[in-house]
Amino acid sequence: MSEIFSPVRLTEARPAPVAGEGAGVRALLIGVAITFLALFLVLPLAAVFVQALSHGVSAYLDAFREPDALSAIRLTLTVAAIAVPFNLVFGVAASWAIAKFEFPGKTFLITLIDLPFSVSPVVSGLIYVLLFGSQGLFGGWLQAHNIQILFALPGIVLATIFVTFPFVARELIPLMQEQGSSEEEAALTLGAPGFHAFLTVTLPNIRWGLLYSVLLCNARAMGEFGAVSVVSGHIRGLTNTMPLHVEILYNEYNFVAAFAVASLLAALALVTLVVKSVLEWRFSDELAAGRKH
């Protein structure tokens, strides 16, 4: 019986496509796209590692024996360790309020949350200088009470929080809106306490979206340059983050060390891209960004 059905080759019966580019045009366009991306995107990335290793592995490793480099790495990790959890908690709270409840002015609120994305990094730093600087709004008061915000850790953390502010919220809001609240309502009517329902119902539903957005938020937090450069004061060994340390080394013509520190940041970017892509391939239906961007 089965022989009667199985040998039928459907591919032979399918007509040739009536619309589409010819093989030549196709190859040309693929060639143009790949050449452009290779020249414009991949080459700069490769250049970072090539330059970093241009004087051998020991010269590369020497860059990390510098106490200033180590303190820059420590500061970058500290800033990310404060800014990312802050934005994580904010993002979850904002998307809970916005996605699970109906109230007027919601679109406006989302626009305000998105605002930091459309502000230049330098302006993001500037606004904190205008607030906390010596001639700023609170400058006099801070000086009188001997509180240091600008050119110190708090300023760097604030500027970093500002530039990464929308990351988590903007991923979770559409995701939670799409999932609706019927599952949470069911949990509550079955007697689960509110926070318990959040932990056991909402959190598992948004876990991949949460991981995805935290990943991107962290990459930006560790790599932020413009905003942090304005508020940090560039004090070596004290307020220099890794990107700022790269700048100083580069301007001192210490290229090997500059590219060595930069290679750590580039590696972070690569890991971020790989994990992000894996999440998009495997869990695209549990992410908002996988479909919309």
Binding site: V18, L29, I30, I34, L41, L43, K100, L131, S181, L273
Partner: protein, 293 residues
Amino acid sequence: MASTLAPADAGASPRPAWRFRRPSVLPGFGLSFGYTLACLGLVVLLPLAALVARASGLGFSGIWDVATDPRVASALKLSFGVSLLAALVASVFGFIVAWVLTRYTFPGRKIVDAAVDLPFALPTAVAGIALASLYAPDGLIGAPLDRLGIQVAYTPLGVFVAMTFVGLPFAVRTVQPLIAEIDKEIEEASATLGATRRATLLKVVLPPLIPAVLTGFALAFARGVGEYGSVIFIAGNLPYVSEIAPLLIVIKLSEFDYGGAAAIATIMLGISFLTLLAINLIQAWSRKRFGYV
């Protein structure tokens, strides 16, 4: 007794009291909404208000004086002019890349697709020093161009390269999902009715993609105008020649000219605001004309 009946009474009353939010069984609105507003207010709105306060202190004439200062005017002209050009080039190549990635299959397509996000993930300072070293007169790309008499690094052309780099992902990612959604049957109908491939592309495929292309262009433009880290290393920052507006803000701040910095920032924010407005108008028009954004 009366208390248990109270909710029913409220529902039956002819004019229910106005509520800010629609009733829901889910808990935590007050907490999450309040926390969202507090974070938004303290981190985003208060610092931005400091900028608005400083700028309004200068008044329109004060801002105009700063904007017409020859050095500031040439920096603004460079930032806006070059980022327009860069957005244009990013849109053209972005379209080709998006088309190739959605329409054709070739080995490594998924990796190429992931690589498009590289400028998002790579810290701007890292991209900046990598581009500067590649396009410097002794760099891998800069040396052959130098022999042809083209100097890229430390000229406006270098600014253009860096802005195209950061703008590219916006151009690709706004168009890509729409190309994926094109109904192939429409193209086939057009082809079977006798249209050439060229006519089908120009009259059937491209028109519905125009709004997305324009949105991607506007996003790439806005990003280019505000970009700092990836530009300053390759630009060389010669006043009147290759000095961008965000750098001038940093210079004004280092001279403690808070007013001048705030004025330039206000002009940049004003133009970004107009760009955002343009994006919204494009999307409103698209929704009316094509029924989607």
